[in-house]
């Protein structure tokens, strides 16, 4: 089975059912499928072939959802780029995967115009929001996306299949410890396997209505749409959780049954008065990215008494690892559960030997959901994917330290590297440090995560300045905000005379955390 079949099958079985609600717009499965077919034709006509990469650089929108399925229908590989990504990084990613197409809007194209001209692989740019007098990046062909979706004489019937299920379907770029993003390669089979497992344990049904405020560039957000289309449900897609009452209003008005959150959203929701939050239709809430504090679990249940709460854990490299059945929440509130259906998880020591309960070791994941590797990074791939029990099989070494209890429930202990998790997103300190080091006044910089009640971890920059130079906190933050995605911009800056070093002369993150790592 291929991922685009999620949409195609629902379009055949329930063509008139509302598939997607986005702002004022409501689209049926039939309408979405036809729009996606038209865009697929347009992609093929522009020269996109089987296996080519096409990027979607849009906010959560009807156009973004249609684009994902259109790219798959064209036999190509989609990647969704965070809409707050700045031009330099956008171009790095487009170069890295040699993208043939880019689907974006006029505002973003204008902001990155000159840089896009340098991406040689790019054949054409599809623009939402009307072309008008818009001038494309030099040498790039422009296609009016709205015109394509709304007809333009393109046939809307299904296209012949170009792929098989072990072909790539998606690249998802994640923060890498080297400071450069890495593209996680996922096949159709990987995605179908993960979506099947997750919808099985969530007991999803066609009546489910999912509210997603998570960006489609985040696999957790992407899967809300993929999974809902698979089981023929409805997705209410919001741009963000910026104005929290908007989400509450939608929960109530659209009679939402499933609400995926991250701990940062829980912290904001819990500041709400329970009288204004009456959502009796809500069947479940899922949480991932980091564990919820026990107190937040209790208060979330008070706020949403009809909803079951699923604690989950995962990483982009295999989508999801584990979930805690809601009835276990009172018994083991700090556990992130067990492996999901059709997946095996176990804990190993440094030599790869399986460990008994209570011993701390690295978590290993085995299943059809495990990625094919990082795009054109064989060495990094080898560190994560190691030989499994069957000939040729690869299992995922997560880099996360866990222990399990006697009944096999997992408990997160820590990470083997210094990746920071903030607002549910992974941030490589190195990527932020690279930006800080480019500030002329900065002699040395280190980035650490500090505990934060809302963000989980907040990013803190610790900086020593060159002699005789001056810099204020706002100067640093402004510099970062112009170059990094929103969630990577530090929340605070601490200036020190010099950074502490280890015996071998490396900057000691441990000592930095001990001296300036407390919450402010």
């Amino acid at each position: 089975m291929q991922v685009e079949s999620f949409l195609e099958q629902s379009a055949r079985s329930v063509p008139g059912k509302t598939a997607l609600v986005c702002g004022e717009r409501r689209l049926t499965y039939g309408e979405l499928d036809q729009s996606a077919n038209r865009l697929a034709q347009s992609l093929i006509a522009a020269g996109v072939h089987r296996g080519d990469r096409v990027a979607v650089y849009l906010e959560n929108s009807v156009e973004a959802v249609v684009s994902i399925f259109a790219i798959l229908k064209a036999g190509a590989v989609f990647l969704v780029i965070n809409p707050t990504t700045k031009p330099d990084k956008l171009c790095y990613i487009l170069h890295n995967c040699r993208a043939k197409g880019l689907i974006t809007d006029t505002r973003r194209e204008t902001a990155s115009g000159d840089a896009l001209a340098g991406v040689a692989s790019l054949l054409a740019i599809w623009l939402a929001g009307g072309i008008g007098k818009h001038v494309a990046a030099a040498g790039k062909r422009l296609v009016d996306l709205d015109a394509v979706l709304n007809d333009a004489g393109l046939p809307a019937q299904a296209l012949p299949k170009r792929c098989i299920d072990i072909d790539l379907a998606a690249l998802i770029y994640t923060s890498g410890s080297t400071g450069r993003p890495k593209g996680v390669m996922l096949t159709h089979l990987n995605i179908v396997a993960a979506a099947t497992s997750i919808t099985t344990y969530l007991e999803n049904r066609t009546e489910d209505i999912i509210l997603s405020v998570l960006p489609l560039s985040f696999d957790y957000g992407l899967y809300q749409v993929l999974m809902a289309f698979k089981f023929g449900g409805t997705v209410v897609l919001e741009r963000s959780f910026t104005y929290p009452y908007k989400a509450i209003d939608l929960l109530i008005r659209e009679k939402v049954t499933g609400f995926p959150i991250v701990p940062t959203m829980a912290a904001v929701l819990l500041q709400m008065d329970s009288a204004s939050v009456q959502c009796p239709s809500l069947r479940y809430i899922t949480n991932t990215a980091a564990a919820l504090p026990t107190e937040h679990i209790r208060r979330l249940r008070d706020l949403f008494p009809s909803a079951e709460l699923y604690s989950m854990y995962g990483l982009t490299e295999c989508k999801r690892v584990s979930y805690l059945p809601p009835e276990q929440l009172d018994i083991r509130p700090t556990s992130i559960g067990r492996g999901m259906p059709n997946e095996e998880v176990y804990i190993v020591d440094d030599e790869g030997n399986r460990l008994p309960p209570q011993a701390v070791g690295e978590l290993v994941v085995r299943g059809a959901n495990v990625m094919k590797g990082y795009w054109e990074l064989p060495e990094e791939t080898e560190k994560m994917l190691k030989p499994g029990p069957l000939p040729g099989e690869k299992v995922l070494h997560t880099g996360d330290l866990f222990r399990s209890d006697e009944e096999g429930y997992l408990y997160f202990v820590g990470r083997k590297d210094d990746i920071i998790k903030t607002r549910g997103e992974k941030v490589s300190p190195r990527e932020v440090e690279d930006v800080l080091h480019a500030i002329p006044e900065v002699a040395e910089a280190a980035v650490i995560g500090v505990p934060d009640a809302v963000l989980g971890q907040a990013i803190r920059a610790v900086i020593s300045l060159r002699e005789g130079t001056q810099l204020r906190e706002n100067d640093v933050l402004r510099y970062c905000a112009a170059r990094l995605e929103d969630f990577m911009v530090p929340k605070s800056v601490v200036f020190v005379s010099s950074l502490p070093k280890t015996g071998s002369g490396k900057v000691s993150k441990r000592e930095i955390a001990a001296s300036v790592g407390e919450t402010v």
Binding site: S240, V268, A481
Partner: protein, 83 residues
């Protein structure tokens, strides 16, 4: 300081890190411009409560009230006139 300017000052200091807000029109959406997130909204709420003595209700946390300098000024103005 007039209300609009005071609100602009807060947005400049806290969301633009002191960068000139010359490119930000009074009617520009903070969301569209990518200068606010949900933690930014919490900072904004705390500022409005402290500076103007407004008690914010949950249902006030909507873009219609908070997502541009114009919307903010209208919202703060109407809250103050009700007190």
């Amino acid at each position: 300081m007039p209300l609009n300017e005071e609100l602009r000052q807060f947005v400049t200091d806290n969301f633009l890190y002191g960068k000139s807000s010359a490119g930000l029109a009074d009617h520009d959406s903070f969301l569209d411009k990518g200068i606010i997130d949900s933690t930014g909204v919490l900072e904004l709420v705390a500022f409005l409560e402290q500076r103007y003595g407004i008690l914010m209700q949950d249902h006030d946390l909507l873009p219609e009230n908070l997502d541009s300098i114009d919307n903010l000024a209208r919202f703060v103005g109407s809250k103050l006139s009700r007190n």
